[in-house]
């Protein structure tokens, strides 16, 4: 027997938790399925300063925990499980997981995103030996050592600022001619003497012996090649949607994101998508939360019709 819910939400980040907050307050029986940590990718951010309501900023981990607390206050159920199959036909939708199968009238996909890899030699080999994808997790292992950050976007610069508290020097390597990070982060990084920038620079290889020793870099404007000695490389070159389980189930764009209309509805009636997983997402905690609320409101309308 499949357990029945009115709404099943896949993913427990800001999008899924906001959706769950809205559907449970609408008194719809709701199950949120999360494969790992409730809170999502935002929990890896040391300090979130662009989520309204927290003028002093808030740690990503705490923000995730608060959202979790608030969402479950009105009866939202949370299950830790992996999705093994989805049948999203009109009418009853079937959600298969490692912890049993469920049915729902509406499904909200909010499975978020994961970090992109560089795809250069040495990256795989030195993973956990100097190549890292989480500065808040691993910065403390590189006290008084030179490190580098790949990527000059918001996440890259935030990580560089965090690393500057531990490392002797932080080199930010950006392939493009300018940084993508918001102005305020760029200003802070510019004021931090430990941080240096290498723009127009491609990382060609990560070198080392057992552990990372350096990077082979190429200046794309001149073709000049040189080596930079570092003990670690933190990769923050962007994120990609977690949609491997949706291939062949829902229409995805070239980047693998779910295509929706402005009601967050996908091609399949009663199936919605919200947050980083959605086509053209702004990839922010606040926009994910907004998407989640929108998806929940239209899911409620869909069910009551």
């Amino acid at each position: 027997m499949n357990k029945e819910y009115q709404v099943v939400i896949i993913g427990g980040g800001p999008a899924g938790l906001s959706a769950g907050l809205y559907t449970s307050r609408a008194r719809l029986s709701t199950l949120l399925i999360e494969r790992g940590l409730v809170g999502g990718l935002i929990t890896e951010t040391e300090l979130v300063e662009n989520y309204p309501g927290f003028p002093e900023g808030i740690s990503g981990l705490e923000l995730g925990q608060l959202m979790h607390q608030q969402a479950t206050k009105y009866g939202l159920e949370i299950l830790l499980a992996e999705i093994t199959g989805l049948e999203l036909k009109q009418g009853q939708k079937i959600i298969k997981t490692t912890e049993g199968n469920f049915t729902a009238k509406a499904v909200i996909i909010a499975s978020g995103s994961e970090r992109l890899k560089l795809g250069v030699p040495g990256e795989k080999e030195f993973a956990g030996k100097g190549v890292s994808y989480c500065a808040t997790c691993d910065a403390a292992f590189f006290r008084e050592l030179p490190v580098a950050v790949a990527g000059g976007g918001d996440v890259g610069i935030t990580e560089a600022l965090h690393l500057a508290k531990f490392a002797s020097k932080v080199t930010v390597i950006e392939l493009l001619p300018k940084l993508g990070a918001s102005r305020i982060l760029q200003e802070r990084a510019a004021a931090e003497p430990k941080i240096e920038f290498r723009l127009n620079t491609r990382i060609e290889e990560i070198e080392g012996e057992e552990v990372v020793k350096g990077l082979r870099l190429r200046r794309v404007t001149t073709g000049e090649k040189y080596t930079l000695d570092v003990a670690a490389l933190f990769v923050s070159i962007g994120i990609k949607p977690n949609t491997a389980y949706l291939k062949g189930v829902l229409p995805l764009d070239a980047a693998g994101a779910v295509i929706t209309n402005d009601k967050m509805e996908t091609e399949v009636p009663g199936t919605f998508a919200a947050g980083d997983v959605r086509h053209n997402s702004a990839q922010q905690a606040i926009t994910a939360a907004g998407d989640g609320a929108t998806a929940a409101i239209y899911a409620e309308k869909f069910i009551s019709e």
């Binding site: 940590l37 890896e44 490692t98 956990g128 997790c137 691993d138 403390a140 292992f141």
Partner: protein
């Protein structure tokens, strides 16, 4: 109730290296979001595998000796131990299935009972013999040096005997399997 054992620099040897069942050690720190992500999975598995597999956690911030000894540079890092040796590892927060597969693989590679251990030994012995005899046949096919050719005819006889011995080993393995069922 979670059966996870909290480990320190002081009791690492006692709890992990001298454990009589295979053991997992999760190197973590409170500031690490993904570390918290895997804890509920290990809590669940620690109940399920109680008595057969031990699950431990060590805070790298408070226990830097072990973090240094095992060259931890990224967390969560989950190291797997059997018979006092670090035999495998999982880096990062991974889904439950991946962890379960690892635990099952460690249990079959390092069985606790005598018959299980004998089975592992026989299997690797048979595979080892098979691999070497295949390598030797390939070499024979390509060999052209006449002096070496003389020697190989005697080696070939030995190899044939070895083949028969290997068949008997395989047979013993099948019998062992039968008894286990």
């Amino acid at each position: 109730m979670s059966k996870i054992v909290q480990i320190t620099d002081q009791n690492f040897e006692e709890e992990v290296l001298r454990s009589d069942i295979p053991t997992e050690v999760d190197f973590w720190a409170p500031w690490c979001g993904p570390c918290r992500m895997v804890i509920p999975i290990y809590e669940k598995l620690s109940e399920e595998y109680e008595g057969r597999f031990k699950f431990c956690m060590i805070n790298v911030d408070e226990n830097q000796q072990m973090a240094t000894k095992y060259q931890i540079m990224s967390i969560p890092m989950q190291k797997y131990f059997a018979n006092g040796e670090n035999v495998d590892e999982i880096l990062g927060a991974v889904p439950e299935d991946t962890i379960r597969t690892m635990v099952e693989s460690i249990l079959s590679r390092f069985p606790a009972d005598e018959a299980g251990r004998l089975k592992v030994l026989l299997t690797s012995w048979v595979e080892h013999n098979k691999e070497h005899s295949e390598k030797f046949s390939k070499w024979v096919d390509k060999a052209s040096n006449p002096e070496v050719n003389q020697i190989y005819s005697s080696v070939l006889r030995a190899a044939q005997e070895m083949g028969k011995a290997n068949e008997r080993l395989s047979q013993a393995l099948t019998e062992l399997d039968g008894e286990n069922k």
